[in-house]
C-alpha cells in the first residue's frame, strides 16, 4: 500500500469551483484515492508499466511536472486507465483529479515559465462531454461567470478602426451583399497580404502595370497579431501588446494622423491631370518612375473622411475648441467610447506641449499620437469594478463595459449610434437590455458582423490554404501546371467565406448544411483545376511555335472540370485589387453553383479546407483527423511526448497511408488511432484538393473508422469521406460540440463544468430553432458566462 505524505501548503490552492465547496480537495482526499483505485496496479515501483511509477510522487514540482501533465492528459482524455479495464473512474472523478493537477501545476511552474496549457483552446475538450450534456452533469452548480479581465483588441479590429479613420468604404448594399462594406474585415489581397491603404479611392492613374501600381501605393499591415495555430485563436489570456508593437503603433499613428490632416503625401502637380502630363513630359521625360510615389495621380477633391482632425489644421493657429474636438473624435473612434473630461484634458495638454515644441504643423500630428496608445485603445476592459458582488463573487457588466462587450461580439467598429445612445441613456445594465441590442444587431444586415464569420474561419480552419508553402515538384505531380497557385488559394478563402455567409443568411441547420451542402462559390476563370478529377487531366497541348499565336490552353483542353452555371454572387476582394482592376467591375463576381455529384460534399471537401490541412509535399491526414476529433467529436489527443521524433519516412513512391504505417507502432498508435482513421478518408483528394480515384496506379483507399466517439451509434468503419461526413452531420453530439466551440469563441475561455447550464441552453436554442446560429449567439451573449465577471476580493 501506498504511504501518504503530508502536503501542507498545497491545500490552500485555488480550485475550480464545482459546487459550493464544503471541503477543498487535497492530495489525500482526491489524488491518493484515485491513484490507489485506478493506477497503482500497473504503475507502482514493482509493476512500472511503460516506465511510469506513481507510488512515490506526492506533490507537483517543476521537476516532475512532465509526469503530472501526462497523467492529467491521459486521465482527462480517457486514455487511462486502459479502455479494456473494467474499473473506470466516473467523469467527475476524472475532473477532480484533472483540476487538482492543473491547479498544482500553475503553482509549481510559476517561476519556470508558468503553466497555462489547460486554459488554451487546444485543451478545452479535456473536460468530458458528459459533464456538460447528459446524465452525469452535476447538480447544484454555482452559476456561471467569467473572471474579470482585459481583452487585447483583435488585430482586425485594430486595422478596421484605423481604416475607418482614413477611408470611406462603401455602405452596405443589399443588391450585392457579399461585397466589401465598411466595417467588414480587411481582406487579404491575392498575395495573401492584409493591408490598409492611404488614399486609394482618390487615385486616378499611375505609370506602369499592376506590379508598378502595387509598389507605388502606400499602406500598412496589422501591427497586432494572433497565433497562426489551428483552432480558436483569440482568448484574452493569450495576448498583450509588447514594446515592439507599441513603438510600431506610435510610428503608424503619426502617418495616420498626418493623412487625416493633409491627405496623401504627394507633390501638388500630382493632383492635377494636366500638370502631371506636363511634368511627365518635362521633368521626368525619359525617366522610369514606375513603382515610385511620384508615378501616382490623384483626383483634385479629398475623398477621405473629413474629421475634426482635418478641421484642426485648416486654421493658421490652433483653436483650443478644435483641438478638443479632435481629441474627443480620435479617442472615441479608437477606444469605442467617449472620453471622460479628465481624459480629454490630459490629451489636450499633451497636444499643446507638443505644439509648443514642434510648431503647429508637426506638433499637432505628434501631439495626437498618444491617444492611439491609450490602454483602452488596445485593451477592452471587462473589469466590473463597480457594485457589490453577489454571493458567488460575481458582478454583472454594465454601461460602457457591457456595451463594448456586446458590440465586440459582432463588430470590429466602435458601437453604432443606437448602442451608444443606449449606454448614454443608462439602458445597458440588464439582461433585457442586452437581449434588445443583440436582437437588433442580428436582424440588421447593414450592421456588419465580421466576428461571426471569423468564428467559422477559426472553427473550420479553412483559411489556411494560401499559407501552406508548397513544394514545386509536389505541385506538379498533383496536376498543377499554372502560375497562380497561391493567388487562387487566397481567393478560395473569400469564396468559402461567402458560402458561409449565404448559409448564415438562411439560418437553418447551419452546421449540418455547412458539412453536407452541395453548393459552392467559385470563380470559373481561375478554379477549374481544383474541382477536377486528377485522372481526367490531360497534358497541355504543345504551344504554337509562333509566339504571336500562342494562347493559354482552355480548361477543356486540360481536362479541367467546369461546374454548372449558377447564380452570380459577390465576394470581398482587397481594395487594392478592386482599384487596379477598376475597369473590370467583375472583379468581385463569383458563381454560386453545385459541386460535382458523388465527388464532393460540404466544405470539408472544398479545396480551401482540404489544402488548409496539407503540407508542402502531401495531404496531412493527421491534421485532418485531429480536426474531426476535436471540432466534431469534442475529444483531443495529448501533446506529443518530448521523446517522440515525429517523422514519416520519405518515400515518394508510397501512399501517405502506407507511409503512416510508422504511427501504428504500439507507443504511437494509442493516440494515432484517434486521429489517423478520421483523416484518411480524405485521401479521396490529393494535396491540392483534386478528386482522385487512384493513387500510384492503384484504386485509392479511403477507408476509415470513427472510433471512441462517445456516441456508440457513430462508432464503426466508414468507406470514405461522404459516409463519414453524413454520419457526423446527423449526430446530436456533434451539434453539441459545435456549441461548445461557439461558447469558447464568444466567451473567450474554455468552458468549465459550471458552464453546463449555459451550454445546454445554447444548444437548445440552436437545436430547437432548426439549427439557428442567431438563436445560438443570442443565447450565448445573454448568458451568465457572458454577462457576469468574477471579481477578486479586496
Amino acid at each position: 500500500m501506498k504511504t501518504v505524505a503530508t502536503l501542507c501548503g498545497l491545500t490552500a490552492m485555488l480550485f475550480a469551483t464545482v459546487t459550493r465547496a464544503e471541503e477543498r480537495p487535497t492530495f489525500d482526499s482526491v489524488v491518493d484515492a484515485f491513484l490507489v483505485k485506478y493506477c497503482l496496479d500497473c504503475h507502482d515501483a514493482d509493476t512500472e508499466k511503460g516506465d511510469v511509477a506513481l507510488d512515490d510522487i506526492f506533490d507537483v514540482t517543476a521537476e516532475n511536472a512532465e509526469i503530472w501533465k501526462s497523467v492529467w492528459e491521459q486521465v482527462s482524455l480517457k486514455e487511462m486507465p486502459p479502455r479494456d479495464k473494467k474499473n473506470q473512474p466516473t467523469a467527475m472523478e476524472r475532473l477532480e483529479l484533472a483540476n487538482w493537477i492543473t491547479s498544482e501545476l500553475e503553482v509549481a511552474m510559476a517561476d519556470v515559465g508558468g503553466f497555462y496549457s489547460h486554459k488554451l483552446p487546444k485543451k478545452a475538450n479535456h473536460l468530458p462531454h458528459e459533464l456538460l450534456f447528459g446524465d452525469e452533469v452535476p447538480k447544484d452548480l454555482e452559476p456561471a461567470s467569467t473572471p474579470a479581465r482585459i481583452w487585447r483588441i483583435h488585430p482586425q479590429e485594430h486595422l478596421v478602426r484605423l481604416n475607418a479613420l482614413i477611408n470611406i468604404d462603401p455602405e452596405y448594399n443589399p443588391e450585392m451583399p457579399g461585397q466589401r462594406t465598411a466595417g467588414d474585415r480587411i481582406p487579404w489581397n491575392e498575395q495573401g497580404e492584409v493591408k490598409v491603404y492611404y488614399g486609394l479611392d482618390r487615385l486616378q492613374a499611375w505609370v506602369g502595370g499592376t506590379a508598378a501600381y502595387a509598389a507605388a501605393i502606400t499602406g500598412f499591415p496589422p501591427v497586432l497579431t494572433t497565433t497562426n495555430d489551428h483552432g480558436l485563436r483569440n482568448y484574452p489570456i493569450m495576448y498583450s501588446v509588447n514594446g515592439a508593437e507599441a513603438t510600431q503603433i506610435a510610428a503608424l499613428a503619426e502617418d495616420v494622423v498626418r493623412f487625416m490632416a493633409n491627405g496623401p503625401i504627394a507633390e501638388p502637380w500630382q493632383f492635377d491631370a494636366k500638370q502631371r502630363q506636363q511634368m511627365l513630359q518635362t521633368k521626368y521625360k525619359g525617366m522610369d518612375i514606375r513603382g515610385t510615389v511620384q508615378s501616382l495621380q490623384y483626383g483634385p477633391d479629398p475623398k477621405r473622411p473629413l474629421t475634426p482632425v482635418y478641421d484642426l489644421v485648416q486654421d493658421e493657429t490652433v483653436s483650443q475648441e478644435n483641438l478638443r474636438a479632435a481629441v474627443v473624435f480620435l479617442f472615441e473612434n479608437l477606444t469605442g467610447r467617449p472620453p471622460t473630461d479628465d481624459e480629454t484634458d490630459e490629451y489636450v495638454t499633451l497636444a499643446n506641449d507638443s505644439i509648443e515644441n514642434l510648431g503647429k504643423d508637426d506638433g499637432v500630428i505628434l501631439g495626437l499620437v498618444p491617444i492611439f496608445l491609450d490602454p483602452d485603445a488596445l485593451f477592452r476592459p471587462e473589469l466590473a469594478d463597480y457594485g457589490k458582488p453577489d454571493e458567488y463573487g460575481r458582478v454583472m457588466l454594465q454601461d460602457w463595459e457591457l456595451g463594448l462587450a456586446v458590440n465586440a461580439a459582432f463588430s470590429f467598429l466602435p458601437p453604432d449610434k443606437e448602442l451608444k445612445q443606449a449606454v448614454l441613456d443608462g439602458k445597458m445594465k440588464t439582461r433585457k437590455d442586452v437581449e434588445r441590442e443583440v436582437q437588433r444587431i442580428l436582424d440588421d444586415d447593414a450592421f456588419r458582423k465580421p466576428r461571426i464569420l471569423q468564428f467559422f474561419r477559426e472553427y473550420f480552419d479553412y483559411d489556411r490554404a494560401g499559407r501552406i508553402c508548397k513544394d514545386t515538384g509536389a505541385l506538379r505531380k498533383a496536376g498543377y501546371r499554372e502560375r497562380n497557385y497561391t493567388e487562387v488559394m487566397n481567393e478560395m478563402t473569400a469564396n468559402t467565406d461567402r458560402l458561409v455567409e449565404l448559409i448564415l443568411e438562411e439560418d437553418k441547420q447551419v452546421l449540418r448544411e455547412l458539412l453536407t451542402t452541395d453548393r459552392v462559390v467559385w470563380n470559373p476563370g481561375k478554379e477549374t483545376l481544383y474541382y477536377s478529377t486528377f485522372e481526367n487531366l490531360k497534358e497541355p497541348p504543345k504551344p504554337d511555335k509562333d509566339p504571336k499565336k500562342r494562347k493559354p490552353p482552355t480548361p477543356q483542353q486540360l481536362g479541367h472540370t467546369i461546374l454548372p452555371n449558377g447564380e452570380t454572387v459577390h465576394v470581398r476582394v482587397a481594395e487594392e485589387v478592386a482599384r487596379y482592376r477598376k475597369n473590370s467591375p467583375k472583379v468581385s463576381e463569383r458563381v454560386l453553383t453545385h459541386l460535382p455529384k458523388g465527388q464532393r460534399l460540404g466544405i470539408l471537401t472544398h479545396p480551401s479546407w482540404l489544402v488548409s490541412h496539407t503540407d508542402a509535399m502531401d495531404n496531412h491526414a493527421i491534421h485532418r483527423g485531429i480536426w474531426v476529433r476535436e471540432r466534431l467529436l469534442g475529444d483531443a489527443t495529448p501533446d506529443v511526448p518530448i521523446t517522440v521524433d515525429a517523422m514519416l519516412p520519405d518515400e515518394p513512391n508510397n501512399t501517405l497511408r502506407h507511409r503512416m504505417r510508422v504511427t501504428r507502432e504500439a507507443e504511437c498508435w494509442r493516440c494515432h488511432r484517434k486521429m489517423d482513421p478520421l483523416g484518411l478518408p480524405f485521401e479521396q483528394f490529393n494535396h491540392i484538393g483534386l478528386y482522385r480515384t487512384t493513387e500510384h496506379g492503384k484504386p485509392v483507399n479511403t477507408r476509415g473508422e470513427i472510433f471512441f466517439s462517445g456516441d456508440p451509434e457513430l462508432d464503426g468503419p466508414v468507406k470514405g469521406p461522404y459516409e463519414m461526413i453524413r454520419k457526423l452531420a446527423a449526430s446530436e453530439r456533434v451539434e453539441q460540440v459545435f456549441v461548445r466551440h461557439a461558447f469558447r469563441y464568444w466567451i473567450g475561455r474554455n468552458e468549465t463544468v459550471n458552464d453546463a447550464p449555459v451550454l445546454q441552453a445554447a444548444w437548445h436554442a440552436y437545436h430547437d430553432n432548426n439549427g439557428s446560429m442567431k438563436a445560438l449567439i443570442e443565447s450565448l451573449v445573454t448568458s451568465d458566462a457572458f454577462l457576469y465577471r468574477t471579481v477578486e476580493e479586496e
Partner: protein, 446 residues
C-alpha cells in the same frame, strides 16, 4: 474603462519586479535595476556573436571531403561555400557530430535552437536561450543583447520585428530588429541633427507621456491580468530607459555610427538591408554598448530571400534543395562567410586590453535548422571563430560521436566565458537519454 485616475495610488507599486524582463526587441533586461543580480563570468571574454542561417547547415558545405577525424585546418583547403573564411582560418573551429534530436528541428527548432529544447512553429520559448544567458554573464553594457534578423525586403518592411530565436525565459521572446532605419534611430537617434533630431526628441516626449498614462492604467487589474498588462507598460519603460542611457553617451556613439546612406533609406535588394543591419550590429559591438549580438539570417523561419546575390528563388523552396554543390547555396553560404570575415576584421581593428577586441570575442555560426530542412537533428554542425580570450581551440576540425547535444556545446560556451556549469537547459532525465557526458565538450577547449 481602465480607470486610471482613481487608481493613482497603485502606481508606485510598479510592475517591473513582478513582470520579469520585457518583450521589447533586443533590450531584454537593459541594465535594469530590477534585474536580479547575476554572478559575472570570470573569463577574459567580453563579447559573443551568434549567427544562425536558416534552412539547415549541411556539413558537406563546410567540411572538406574525406575528413572524418580531428585535424588541424592548417594544410586543408576549405570547401567553396565557406572559402572566404580562408582569410581567418587560424581562428576557425569546425565542429561536426553534435546532435539536437530532442529539439524537433525539422523546418526550424525556433527558440529550441539556442535554447536546447523542443521548439516549433508558434510554440513559445520554454526557457532562456544561451545567447541571453551569456549576455547576462559577460561584463555588462547599456544594451547587453541585440538581435537582428534578415529576411526578404517585403517581410522586413511589413514585419520589422519578429521573435523566433532568442528568449529571456519561458514565454519571454526577444524580438529581432529587421528594419535598419528604425534600428538606426533607436541606437543613434541622439547623435542625429536637424530635423531628425527634433523629431527624435518630440517622439521621446510622446513615449514618456504614454508610459505615464499606461502606468496609471493597471491599478485595478486582477492579478492574472496585471501580468499581461505589465508587459505593455514594461515595453515603454525599457524603450525610454534605454534611450536615456544612449543619449547620455551620444558623444562616444558618434564615432561608431555607420553612414546613414541609400542602402538604409532606398534599398534595392534585401541584401542591402542585410548589410545595413550587420553594420549596425558591428557598430553596437565596437562602441561597447552591446556584448551579445544574435544574427538570424532568414529570421529563424523557413523563408528568407537573397536577391542581391542573384538568387531569384526565395523562401521555402530554398530549403527543399540539396545544399552541396548547389550554386544558390554556395552563394548564400559565401555571403554568410563574408559577413563573418567582416565581423572578425572589424573587431580586430579595435584595440582592447593590449590586443584587439577580437581576442576577447567568440563567434558561433550554425543553423536554427540543424543540418538540413527536413531533419531529425542527428547531426548539427557548428563553426566557431575566435578563441574567446584563449579558452577555445582554433584552426581545428573536430569530429564528435553524435552523442552530445547542442546543450553540451552551450555548456562549453559557458565554460569558455568563465561561467561554468554542468548542463545547460537539460535535466537529468532528459540527459539520460540525450547526453552521453556531463560538463563541457573537452575536445573544444584549449
Amino acid at each position: 474603462m481602465i480607470d486610471r485616475r482613481r487608481l493613482l495610488k497603485s502606481v508606485t507599486a510598479g510592475f517591473g519586479a513582478a513582470m520579469g524582463s520585457s518583450l521589447f526587441p533586443g533590450i531584454g533586461q537593459a541594465a535594469s535595476s530590477l534585474a536580479p543580480t547575476i554572478a559575472p563570468a570570470t573569463g577574459k571574454a567580453k563579447r559573443i556573436i551568434f549567427f544562425l542561417q536558416n534552412q539547415g547547415f549541411d556539413p558537406a558545405t563546410a567540411i572538406p571531403k574525406g575528413l572524418k577525424e580531428d585535424v588541424s585546418l592548417d594544410s586543408i583547403e576549405l570547401p567553396e561555400p565557406i572559402r572566404p573564411l580562408e582569410a581567418v582560418k587560424d581562428k576557425l573551429h569546425i565542429i561536426n557530430g553534435i546532435h539536437g534530436k530532442h529539439t524537433s528541428p525539422s523546418h526550424s527548432a525556433y527558440f529550441g535552437a539556442l535554447g536546447g529544447y523542443r521548439g516549433g512553429i508558434g510554440i513559445p520559448p520554454r526557457g532562456e536561450t544561451i545567447d541571453h544567458v551569456i549576455s547576462q554573464r559577460l561584463p555588462q553594457t547599456v544594451l547587453p543583447h541585440l538581435c537582428i534578423g534578415m529576411d526578404s525586403l517585403d517581410n522586413m518592411k511589413s514585419r520589422p520585428t519578429l521573435a523566433t530565436l532568442s528568449a529571456t525565459g519561458a514565454g519571454k521572446p526577444i524580438f529581432m530588429h529587421s528594419n535598419p532605419v528604425d534600428l538606426y534611430q533607436m541606437l543613434f537617434g541622439s547623435i542625429s541633427e536637424g530635423e531628425v533630431r527634433a523629431r527624435y526628441e518630440a517622439r521621446s516626449n510622446v513615449l514618456n507621456a504614454v508610459e505615464n498614462i499606461a502606468r496609471q492604467g493597471g491599478g485595478v487589474l486582477p492579478s492574472a491580468e496585471a501580468a499581461r498588462y505589465g508587459s505593455y507598460v514594461e515595453g515603454f519603460r525599457d524603450i525610454n530607459h534605454l534611450r536615456e542611457q544612449l543619449s547620455d553617451i551620444s558623444d562616444h556613439l558618434a564615432g561608431f555610427a555607420p553612414e546613414f546612406g541609400e542602402k538604409f533609406t532606398k534599398p534595392e535588394f534585401d541584401t542591402d538591408w542585410h548589410d545595413s543591419l550587420l553594420d549596425l550590429g558591428i557598430a553596437a559591438l565596437k562602441s561597447g554598448i552591446t556584448n551579445t549580438l544574435t544574427i538570424g539570417s532568414g529570421r529563424g523561419e523557413i523563408f528568407g530571400a537573397w536577391k542581391g546575390l542573384g538568387v531569384t528563388e526565395q523562401g521555402h523552396n530554398l530549403g527543399h534543395m540539396d545544399q552541396p554543390d548547389n550554386d544558390i547555396w554556395i552563394k548564400i553560404r559565401q555571403y554568410n562567410s563574408e559577413m563573418l570575415v567582416k565581423l572578425v576584421q572589424q573587431l580586430e581593428s579595435m584595440p582592447e586590453d593590449g590586443g584587439t577586441m577580437m581576442d576577447n570575442t567568440l563567434i558561433v555560426y550554425t543553423s536554427n535548422n540543424a543540418d538540413k530542412q527536413h531533419t531529425a537533428g542527428q547531426n548539427w554542425p557548428f563553426m566557431l571563430l575566435g578563441n574567446c580570450g584563449g579558452a577555445v581551440k582554433t584552426g581545428q576540425f573536430t569530429q564528435l560521436d553524435g552523442k552530445r547535444p547542442v546543450n553540451a556545446l552551450y555548456t562549453t560556451l559557458l565554460h569558455a566565458i568563465g561561467a561554468p556549469c554542468d548542463r545547460f537547459n537539460m535535466d537529468e532525465s532528459l540527459a539520460a537519454k540525450f547526453d552521453s557526458g556531463v560538463g563541457p565538450i573537452e575536445q573544444l577547449l584549449a
